[in-house]
Amino acid sequence: MSASAPASVKDASTPTPPLRRGAPARIRKLAAQGPLFTAAVLVLVLLVLLAVCAPLLAPYEPDAIDLKNSLAGTGPDHWLGTDQSGRDILSRMLYGARTGLLGPLAVVGVSTVLGIAMGVVAAWRGGWVDSLLSRSMDLLFAFPAMLLAILCVAVFGAGLTAPVIAMMIAYTPYVGRLVRSIARQEQTRPYIESYRVQGWSGWSICTRHLIPNITPTVLAQSAINFGYALMELAGLSYLGFGVQAPTADWGVMVSEGQNPLLKDVMLPALAPATAIVIAVVAFGIVGEGLADRVSKRER
């Protein structure tokens, strides 16, 4: 598991002002990124759909215990079998996708917004504001996200809230540093200067031009961060610090699957494990694809 730095997208980049395109053109553009990228996007879309529609799709209640049916194999009743308490694994997987995606969504959403704000302000204001923000980001770098999350659990107790907040904070400097470096480059470009000369306020230039132009690069980083956050949050749940049993969650399921494993029953642990890996791989591919697109457009 990586408690490590989310791999950072190429730092130096000067995205050109984005062209506004219609939705169909955009989809075609995305497909042009290659079959792997398209597949990864489809996997993620499917994942979200499954999570949203879990109550409609799940054949059983995720928490319905049926001890007579403990560790049933795959079959028409239970497509993916049952776990030790006889709960339907497929249903738990579907519901698990909800907690599995919601946590990272909060982490990435907040850290992206905070990171953009910190990065842009640091780059735009410069001077002592820049050094203050940069130093505090440096300070945060010293805390691996996982460590901060564990510390928060130690103080505030287990559950999704403490680790999610901790990771929001821990992920912010990764976005912030990236945004600061590209915003500083973007700022020196003539179009920004021309808006300045025309008397636009710093706020409008930033919100209407600077931020939209750095967004593609940031999105690429955020997609990669999403994968890492998913991995780390599931890891915390696996440790018993995050989502609490009996709530269905992939990380919790991997942990609950350890006992069946000793009896050579693989599916209770393997099914959620596979889901986690597929999701993280898909986010990684999408993130790299987006970063690729940005760097291609620069050339």
């Binding site: 990586s2 010293a142 691996p144 659990v153 130690a154 494990a273 986690i276 990684g284």
Partner: protein
């Protein structure tokens, strides 16, 4: 030692101390951030005997004003006294130093795997574009996405349960026994990091391969293996060393999951265990330890850079 280097070192050491101070403050004040009375927090909500209350009050100087509490606590910590583990009823420093060797063994073992496998995969995929490169990329892309707890799960079920080649849990005693016990944990720990290192190595090497001085070396009849060794790999060392350095601290945190999964009694599982039972002095000490490890690893990486690239002047950039 020349003066800019001295000034650089001094600056970095001051920075290191400042970050550690900030960390210690966060770690200390966490006790007061926690909901409820610090004593009951430190006693994990168990009934508090008057003796225990007195002992804790003395340990944390709870009868003093907050700032003074912190300073007194800091003084103890600097003297190596992190307090007593509530769970083990043992001195925290002692407890950690008992468990540290196992974790260090595991981390070093994993680090060796990461370096060997990561470098080989990275070099191979940079030098063999096409099918080999694609296969390695597919593998590294996947292995980066395999969290250690999942790797642990799969490795256990295959190599410990089904095949019985490796023990299910424990750390073993003596060098070879430890090696045998810690092989699966080390692999589980190394998987993500090896993939990451392979990626970094690959892109750094591709960067260097495209440079003209490499072509120049070839144009002089230098054998390809030597071109790769003395020019490409040599010059790609910067990013490789940086990423390896930053991995050390991340790995210390990651061990907590792996050690828990394999029931290895090191500081990693101690951290998880202490969080679970709210043994806060241990959590404080381990947090400081990991942050210190991270900062020292970073400092070493920065000090190595000018040895790798003579153009990097230490102290030139205050960061």
């Amino acid at each position: 030692m020349n003066r800019p280097l001295l000034r650089f070192l001094l600056g970095r050491l001051v920075g290191l101390v400042l970050v550690l101070l900030a960390t210690s403050f966060v770690v200390f004040s966490a006790v007061h951030l926690a909901p409820g009375d610090p004593v009951s927090f430190l006693m994990r909500g168990r009934p508090v005997t008057p003796q225990a209350r007195a002992a804790l009050t003395a340990q944390y100087h709870l009868d003093e004003p907050f700032a003074r509490q912190y300073l007194l606590w800091l003084g103890d910590v600097l003297g190596g006294d992190f307090g007593r583990s509530v769970q083990f009823r043992q001195d925290v420093g002692e407890l950690i130093s008992q468990k540290l060797p196992t974790t260090v063994f595991l981390v070093v073992y994993a680090m060796v795997l990461v370096t060997v496998v990561g470098l080989i995969l990275g070099i191979v995929s940079a030098l063999r574009p096409g099918l080999v490169d694609k296969l390695v990329l597919a593998w590294t892309g996947t292995s980066i996405a395999i969290p250690s707890y999942i790797a642990a799960t799969v490795l256990t079920s295959v190599f410990a349960v089904k095949l019985g080649w490796f023990p299910l849990y424990g750390a073993g005693e003596g060098f070879t026994d430890q090696l045998w016990h810690l092989t699966l944990p080390a692999i589980a720990l190394a998987l993500t990091f090896a993939g990451l290192l392979a990626r970094v190595t690959r892109s750094a090497m591709l960067d260097e391969l495209s440079r003209e001085h490499v072509e120049v070396a070839r144009s002089r009849g230098v054998p390809e293996s030597q071109v790769i060794r003395k020019h490409v790999l040599r010059n790609a060392l910067g990013p490789i060393v940086t990423v390896v350095g930053t991995m050390v601290a991340s790995m210390l945190v990651a061990t907590s999951i792996v050690e828990t999964a394999f029931s290895v009694k090191g500081v990693g599982s101690l951290l998880i265990n202490s969080v679970t039972v709210k043994d806060f002095p241990v959590v404080q000490a381990l947090t400081l330890l990991v942050v210190a490890a991270f900062l020292i690893a970073n400092l070493i990486v920065d000090l190595l850079q000018p040895l790798i690239d003579p153009r990097v002047a230490l102290g030139g950039d205050p960061k």
